[in-house]
């Protein structure tokens, strides 16, 4: 694992404290995590081999600052907050990668001010809606069923790791579980109860070259959404990943990190 540094930035008139994990060297790339919160993982490790990775924690999910979500009422506030965070980090026009909920945030940030984003990679993003293929409400999935929804192979090492983590006891495990629950709470504010908050009206504004990566066996956001995103973003292409569910960057780590690293270098 590469060495990660932690930076804490306070923005939005000093009301929002955000911890950002930073690692690697090279051109900057920002990673927006999904609804379960930020965990530094092997995918970010591999990105850090060629890029400086900035992974901010969604407002409210930084330990010790659970109230940092309060100043943000809606998605508009959240997007503007991220421009302030970019400024604080000295990022003028970074590449941005977003996964799931973070993919929706990345798309919103790229659509609102298209000049701020150089390249965009979306991994199984949410944010669009089709009545014939509804996005699964992940908070309504029982914990024991969760691996089935998240992984192409729920019995694989990642599925087993998750099942074990849910059952773990002890202070450290409890803290981790609280952290996951609070991340779900803080992200749900912007998507509950249906993750369709107007991106469809704004997504055409994205100018950045965009790579859309989707797990073929995603049972949270079905892969039909890959085309929905691609057809609305001018300069985009889709990579469907077999043997992957909602977390293709972890379940097919090598393939997805190679795809995204190559795309960022193009």
């Amino acid at each position: 694992m590469v060495a990660t540094a932690e930076r804490t930035e306070t923005v939005w008139r000093d009301q929002i404290e955000t911890r950002v994990k930073v690692a690697g060297s090279g051109p900057p790339v920002v990673f927006f995590h999904g609804a379960y919160g930020l965990q530094w993982d092997p995918f970010l490790d591999s990105l850090a081999a060629s890029h400086t990775v900035y992974a901010p924690e969604h407002p409210g999910t930084t330990p010790g600052a659970p109230d940092s979500l309060e100043p943000l009422d809606n998605l508009w506030d959240l997007v503007l907050y991220y421009y302030e965070l970019f400024d604080a980090l000295g990022l003028d026009r970074p590449a941005v990668i977003g996964h799931s909920f973070g993919g929706m945030v990345a798309a919103e940030v790229a659509a609102t001010n298209p000049e701020r984003i150089s390249k965009l990679a979306l991994i199984d993003p949410i944010g669009l809606w089709r009545d014939d293929a509804p996005v699964t409400n992940w908070m309504a999935v029982s914990l024991s069923d969760l691996p089935k929804y998240l992984f192409a192979n729920p019995e694989g090492p990642l599925g087993q790791m998750m099942s074990a983590a849910i059952k773990m006891e002890g202070d450290e495990a409890l803290d981790a579980q609280i952290q996951v629950m609070w991340s779900l709470a803080c992200t749900a504010k912007f998507v509950w109860p249906i993750p369709d908050k107007g991106l469809k009206k704004r997504i055409h504004r994205i100018k950045a070259s965009t790579l859309i990566v989707w797990g073929k066996q995603d049972r949270i956001a079905p892969p039909v959404y890959a085309e929905e995103f691609a057809s609305r973003i001018a300069n985009s292409r889709v990579e469907l990943i077999d043997g992957a569910g909602h977390l293709p960057h972890l379940e097919q780590l090598h393939r997805v990190s190679a795809l995204i690293t190559d795309f960022l270098k193009e």
């Binding site: 109230d67 309504a140 629950m181 609070w182 749900a188 509950w192």
Partner: protein, 422 residues
């Protein structure tokens, strides 16, 4: 004491294997597989008849609440029920306790102020205005409120309703969740400055604080009985001691399951299956529906995860094996002969220091006739033994003012007493 009959309006005939076949009694149970509109109609009417019977039998109040998409307790519009009850009890001294319309899911919340004012006008000033936060199943899943916003929406709705009842002038309301240009409530409640407000809660410090700040009655609604409630209510009174509020027992309410029969043995015979049904089926709620992240604020989440969870889970795990005696010994149900129930109930009232008691006299699958019997025995044999507690010392400032005095014995009780020769 003021003692009201609480009714949930459960579906009474879920299949024996309900909890094995279905994921949850709430949010996603399939209506057409489990019941029919005709049966729903029957149950609504039985519920109303049972509450009206309770009013006539001498209960101080009748109590309904709001829940959605479930077979546990299905009154999506509590004020529809309340309005029937207000009319049917015209001219009596029975309170209409609405426990009530859920604030964060009523949009605009001014609707709650209007409907409660209507009920207060129809009943001639006999309503209690319950102001529930709403369960996660109802508010988040059935009505789509983001869990993390629910409490803030609640506080804002509360402020709007209280102001709408009392303001002398038309006012604009500029809230985060509700904006209204010209609030001018019609009608206004009969009770001035406003009907008594009861705040249901499940033991969180923020709700105690809120109730104390506004001088509202705090109601601990739990199905786990007075012994388990002791810790919570001790905490509540300790908290009240740190404020400038008096320790008036009427500042607190409590809900208790009660079943009465001629003897203890008979009570077990008649009621055990319905108690089982209630805990097995009516409370068969999927965890993910009951506790979506964000429903609790961060500090409460940490507190629940670290301290409360183990205790409650322990009890829940044991329930499937419990017999009647376990339910009564652990206080989840107060049940038995009138003398047993009287003793246990007055002990619970004093232990918890509560003045406003709600009793669940219809439980789970209880049929209509048995419910009427439970109501009659409770009103006739139990109530007289507990109704005077606290009254020599404290005034119930959280009860409709015109009903605060001693209730006349109902005609039925007088007749029964006469027939019994005493």
């Amino acid at each position: 004491m003021k003692i009201s009959m609480f009714h949930l309006m459960p579906y009474r005939d879920l299949p024996d294997d309900f909890e094995k076949r279905y994921r949850s009694v709430w949010v996603d149970p399939p209506f057409w597989e489990l019941t029919t509109p005709e049966k729903a109609g029957l149950y609504y009417n039985q519920t109303l008849d049972e509450l009206i019977h309770a009013a006539n039998a001498g209960m101080d109040g009748v109590c309904v609440n709001e829940h959605h998409q479930n077979a546990y307790g299905n009154m999506p519009g509590p004020n529809l029920m309340g309005s029937v009850l207000a009319r049917a009890t015209a001219g009596t001294d029975v309170a209409i306790v609405q426990m009530g319309a859920t604030l964060p899911t009523t949009q605009p919340p001014i609707r709650v102020a209007e409907e409660y004012a209507m009920l207060d006008c129809i009943s001639g000033g006999r309503i209690v205005a319950g102001m529930p936060l709403g369960s996660p199943m109802d508010a988040n899943y059935c009505y789509g409120i983001p869990p993390i916003e629910q409490r803030e929406r609640y506080y804002e709705a509360h402020d709007l309703i209280l102001k709408a009842w009392q303001a002398k002038e038309v006012f604009p309301f500029n809230g985060k969740y509700t904006q209204l240009p010209m609030v001018n409530l019609w009608p206004r409640p009969v009770q001035q400055p406003h009907p008594p407000v009861w705040v249901p809660g499940s033991g969180s410090l923020s709700t105690w604080d809120f109730a104390a700040q506004h001088d509202h009655c705090y109601c601990f609604l739990s199905y786990f009985g007075s012994q388990m409630a002791k810790k919570v209510m001790d905490g509540f009174w300790e908290f009240i001691g740190t404020t400038n509020r008096d320790p008036n027992p009427y500042r607190a309410g409590f809900l208790q399951l009660v079943v009465v029969s001629e003897t203890d043995a008979r009570a077990e015979e008649e009621y055990y299956e319905h108690i089982r049904y209630f805990y097995d089926k009516s409370l068969h709620i999927a965890t993910e529906f009951a506790a979506p992240p964000g429903h609790q604020d961060y500090r409460s989440l940490v507190n629940t995860m670290k301290t409360q969870r183990a205790g409650l889970l322990g009890i829940r795990d044991q329930l499937p094996n419990w017999k009647f005696k376990d339910f009564v010994e652990n206080g989840l149900v107060i049940g038995g002969s009138p003398a047993t129930v009287r003793d246990r109930l007055s002990e619970a009232i004093k232990n918890l220091r509560v003045g406003n008691l709600m009793v669940l006299l219809h439980i789970g699958s209880m049929p209509h006739e048995l419910t009427l019997k439970n109501i009659d025995l409770f009103a006739r044999e139990v109530m007289p033994g507990v109704r005077d507690i606290w009254d020599d010392e404290w005034e119930n400032r959280w009860w409709p003012e015109k009903l605060r005095g001693k209730r006349k014995l109902p005609a039925q009780a007088v007749a029964a007493a006469a027939a019994g020769g005493n």
